[in-house]
């Protein structure tokens, strides 16, 4: 019996002690007519060997392409040590550190994680993780609504460079509490349109959401946006890419007083693309807002002997204590992903992370130059960008991407797939530090070939 250790003797002994004659008797409180028949539609079990063969074949089906898609998930080099250490049984098969004395490993690690995120974002407090960037933004919106004492508004303003899938996610979640989002239109340079923004002057919003870099890869003038929002009595929710934080002004230093809540997708910090997860959402805030923070927080304290130790703290915000009055319903979070990210940040350090960020930027710039030197391909991102840009291809972006896929190149995402009403010729492209200059050339020549074979339309 896979994973069940019982021998016939064991079972007999156990039944005797319990005082029943068969395992089935243990279910005698369940009404007979409810009892399940066999699970016919579930296949027969496989041995580990047969399972590995099946899964290897399936994994192989999806392998081997050169990927230039970003759009919220980024391919970075993950040091081998990250997952070797993170998947040690003691990290991987423990659970939430309820018994602090027997969980100091996980607890200290999360404390260190929180500290690193505070360093990266220049904020005071970080929690132990949320599910992902998108749902994390939803939590931030709820948090801002709770936290903004000056405003009774149940509306939040979104600078529309925010990831469209994040917006969808936020909507799915916050609409249930009658909270609504309004968007500021984007300028032609894929950055917030100052004019459009002015139109919201004087309106009552609990918060302004600013993405840096934004979904299109563009770098926003976050200082001006932050100061504008604060002047309007809005809190500022910053949505940031953690790799970019090694290069760009951290949200804690935006404008005169910094952002109030910082949220984002932790995936770039050592998590593989892996079909979208597990990743993790990070969230940081100012000291002032700590009691509104969702999720777990680890604190440093001392033990009976005065020795340093770590423990869950401020649990009175959480569902297991406060139940219906909790700051969020989150319980299980993304512990192991955070473990990996903490090791990643430690191995890279600020110096390493800066190099990853600048190499990604350099590769993206180089790719933009190579691709836009092809006839008919144009750079649409005409402001500064980090490691993504938007280009326009002749004809349908979808068709061109399909053509590239036949060369085993995943050339980016068609903007119109994700953004309603977007230019159907626009492609969002990304190149991180893992790409070699040869990879960029391979993309460029495949694109030339695809365009040529399509008769450039």
């Amino acid at each position: 019996m896979p994973f069940i250790p019982h021998t016939d003797q064991d079972i007999q002994k156990m039944l005797d002690v319990i005082g029943v004659s068969a395992i089935d008797d243990l279910f005698d409180e369940i009404p007979k007519h409810l009892r399940a028949k066999s699970l016919d539609k579930v296949p027969e079990g496989l041995s580990e060997m047969d399972m590995m063969r099946l899964m290897s074949e399936r994994a192989q089906q999806d392998a081997g392409a050169l990927c230039f898609i970003g759009a919220g998930a980024y391919e970075h080099h993950v040091p081998a040590a990250v997952w070797d250490v993170a998947t040690r049984g003691e990290f991987m098969t423990a659970y939430t550190p309820y018994q602090a004395e027997a969980s100091q490993g996980t607890l200290q690690l999360i404390y260190e994680y929180q500290s690193m995120m505070c360093q990266l974002t220049a904020m005071d407090v970080s929690n132990a993780s949320l599910y992902d960037g998108a749902s994390g933004l939803a939590e931030s919106v709820l948090m801002a609504i709770r936290a903004n004492r000056k405003s009774k508004s149940r509306k939040v303003l979104v600078a529309s460079g925010v990831h469209p899938l994040y917006e969808k996610t936020v909507n799915s979640i916050v609409a249930n509490q009658e909270i609504t989002l309004d968007s500021v239109a984007l300028g032609s340079d894929f950055r917030v349109d100052q004019q459009a923004l002015q139109a919201f002057e004087g309106q009552d919003y609990a918060a302004l959401v600013i993405s840096q870099p934004n979904f299109y890869g563009s770098i926003e003038d976050v200082n001006a946006l932050t100061d504008w929002a604060h002047a309007q009595g809005m809190l500022v929710i910053a949505v940031v890419n953690p790799t970019a934080l090694a290069l760009l002004v951290p949200p804690g230093e935006w404008g005169d007083t910094g952002a109030d809540i910082v949220v984002g997708e932790g995936q770039p910090l050592g998590l593989p693309l892996a079909s979208g997860g597990p990743y993790f959402g990070f969230i940081c805030c100012t000291n002032k807002l700590v009691r509104q923070m969702p999720g777990r927080i680890i604190g440093r304290t001392v033990d009976l002997d005065g020795k340093e130790g770590f423990t869950l703290t401020l649990q009175a915000r959480e569902q297991h204590i406060r139940r219906s009055k909790a700051t969020s319903n989150i319980c299980t979070n993304q512990g192991l992903a955070v473990t990996a990210a903490t090791i990643y940040m430690t191995l890279l350090g600020y110096e390493g992370l800066s190099r990853v960020a600048s190499a990604s930027h350099a590769n993206t710039k180089a790719l933009a130059e190579k691709l836009t030197s092809i006839d008919g391909v144009e750079l649409l991102s005409n402001g500064p960008f980090f490691h993504e840009f938007v280009m326009s291809v002749p004809g349908s972006a979808r068709d061109v991407l399909e053509g590239l896929a036949e060369y085993s190149i995943l050339g980016g995402v068609a903007l119109s797939d994700l953004v309603e009403g977007a230019d159907t010729q626009a492609v969002l492209v990304c190149a991180t530090e893992v790409k070699t200059s040869n990879d960029l050339d391979v993309y460029a020549s495949a694109l030339s070939a695809v365009l040529a074979s399509k008769g450039s339309v």
Partner: protein
């Protein structure tokens, strides 16, 4: 010592960074960071050594019996981890085109079907990222259902008092008012109280069965009828599905919607607090509201093609709950687990987790410990109360829990459910051998003896862990949640 305290300025693991520092001169200077972020500055060896040693300060399934009730700490097959970590799976971008995703989509599709079968429901969405998000999705679907019928009067969700904290918290996140109903001394819901609580304002009830009291709710059909008759829907919190896997299906009990905790029932690693995965399954009525994305399949000229089903195809969906599709890697592991067990193996889960639990309960009762529900069958978990010990010896459940650590056992869940005083919720799972079960009971007996003769010693436990009992009050009062270079 913290990792921050181990470094030296300028040190880092050189092999891990791109060789050259590329120029960023083209970016607007006022957008560039001026201060170095104070990340650790250590060598690769220092990092590996630090985190390896940290890991050694944890209890875990791989090192200890970990009978944490309501958490199903069963063995996490290493094969599942290995297969889910194949490069083809790790390298797939979440937005990769379907042509480059058939392997992954096939796994998702197959798991959807397996979960339909084991729950007896009509549809499944795997996207929720943990139990609580599954609950959210479920309650949001209930809300969408009522609203689609323009039944706006339903503003309440009923929750038995034994419910997990995520239940009421979720109801509130979905904009509902929470109405708690009592649980009787025998562990079953007080159906009279339920009957007087339901009405046209009732959107639904959230229930766990077996409940967190470790007993099977015998009146489930009556509850179902009561709520349905009042126009409400039934939500099943599947955290305890391990107890009944293959024995009775939530769909057959009358539930309209449920979530499962794949990290519990389907043996994916708990990761020190996550990630998990909390798929939802629904009956016919709620099918249109399932969260997206879902995977569909088409046979075309003998070729099987898997494809995404998104908001376009499911316009009444409650929508997306994450940027992509939840914790894909956990979904893979759960699929692999189901593949390894197969229909017979899944069926055995409920049987043997229940056998183990009842055996432990019997042993503990024989040893003189007080069961919270002595007249009931234990399910996959059971509760003892140490109320007598707390009153007579001043040795609390907390003290027993801490002392267990010294004996090399992780403590059961303590002080939950709240309605049983000084309780231990004990869940052995089916993957533990009889030897471990007996060893734990022996440790409890030994601690009982210690409590009778040297209560103070027990109250000072643990003694063998990296730290002694921690000052939680100081932790909350003098909040230190982030290292500052000068706070060291």
């Amino acid at each position: 010592m913290l990792i921050f305290e181990k470094g030296a300025e300028g040190r880092f693991a050189t092999a891990q960074a791109p060789k050259v520092m590329s120029s960023v001169a083209d970016l607007p200077p006022e957008m560039l960071r001026q201060t170095r972020a104070g990340l650790p500055e250590v060598s690769e060896l220092q990092a590996v050594r630090h985190f390896t040693n940290l890991s050694r300060k944890n209890f875990s399934i791989d090192t200890q019996f970990y009978p944490l009730g309501s958490c199903t700490m069963k063995y996490n097959p290493r094969g599942a981890h290995k297969a889910a970590s194949l490069p083809g799976f790790l390298g797939r971008h979440p937005l990769a085109p379907e042509s480059h995703s058939q392997g992954y989509l096939a796994c998702v599709y197959d798991l959807q079907n397996i979960l339909k079968e084991v729950t007896g429901m009509a549809g499944v969405s795997l996207t929720p990222m943990a139990g609580a998000q599954g609950e959210f999705a479920g309650v949001a679907m209930i809300k969408a259902y009522h609203e689609a019928r323009e039944d706006f009067a339903r503003t309440e969700i009923i929750v038995p008092e034994a419910a997990h904290g995520t239940n009421p918290a979720t109801a509130v996140m979905c904009g509902y008012k929470v109405v708690e109903i009592p649980v009787k001394a025998d562990g079953d819901v007080d159906v009279d109280a339920l009957k007087s609580a339901v009405g046209p304002q009732t959107a639904g009830i959230m229930m766990t069965n077996p409940s967190t009291c470790g007993v099977f709710e015998r009146q489930v059909e009556e509850i179902s009828k009561t709520v349905h008759d009042a126009g409400g829907l039934l939500y099943y919190d599947g955290a305890n599905l391990n107890a009944i896997l293959g024995k009775v299906r939530p769909g057959d009990m009358g539930f309209d919607v449920l979530h499962m905790n794949l990290h519990k029932t389907f043996a994916t690693p708990h990761g020190g607090g996550g990630p998990g995965s909390g798929p939802v399954a629904v009956g016919e009525r709620l099918l249109p509201y399932l969260p997206t994305p879902i995977v569909g399949m088409q046979e075309e000229q003998g070729e099987t093609r898997y494809h995404w089903i998104d908001d376009d195809a499911l316009p009444n969906s409650i929508g997306r709950l994450s940027a992509f599709m939840g914790n894909a890697g956990i979904i893979l592991r759960a699929y692999i687990y189901a593949t390894l067990l197969g229909r017979d193996g899944l069926h055995r889960v409920g049987e043997f987790s229940t056998l183990n639990s009842n055996y432990m309960a019997s042993l503990m009762a024989k040893a003189g410990f007080e069961l919270a529900y002595p007249e009931r069958r234990a399910t996959h978990e059971f509760i003892i109360t140490l109320n007598k010990q707390a009153k007579e010896l001043n040795v609390t459940a907390m003290d027993f829990a801490k002392r267990l650590l010294d004996y090399g056992y992780h403590a059961p869940t303590t002080y939950f459910p709240l309605l049983v005083p000084e309780c231990f919720l004990i869940e052995p799972t089916e993957t533990e051998s009889i030897d471990e079960l007996e060893g734990f009971v022996e440790a409890m007996i030994a601690i009982q003896a210690e409590a009778e003769t040297s209560a103070e010693m027990v109250k000072g436990a643990p003694y063998t862990q990296p730290v002694k009992r921690l000052d939680d009050v100081k932790a909350a009062r003098e909040l230190d949640v982030s290292f500052q270079r000068n706070s060291a």
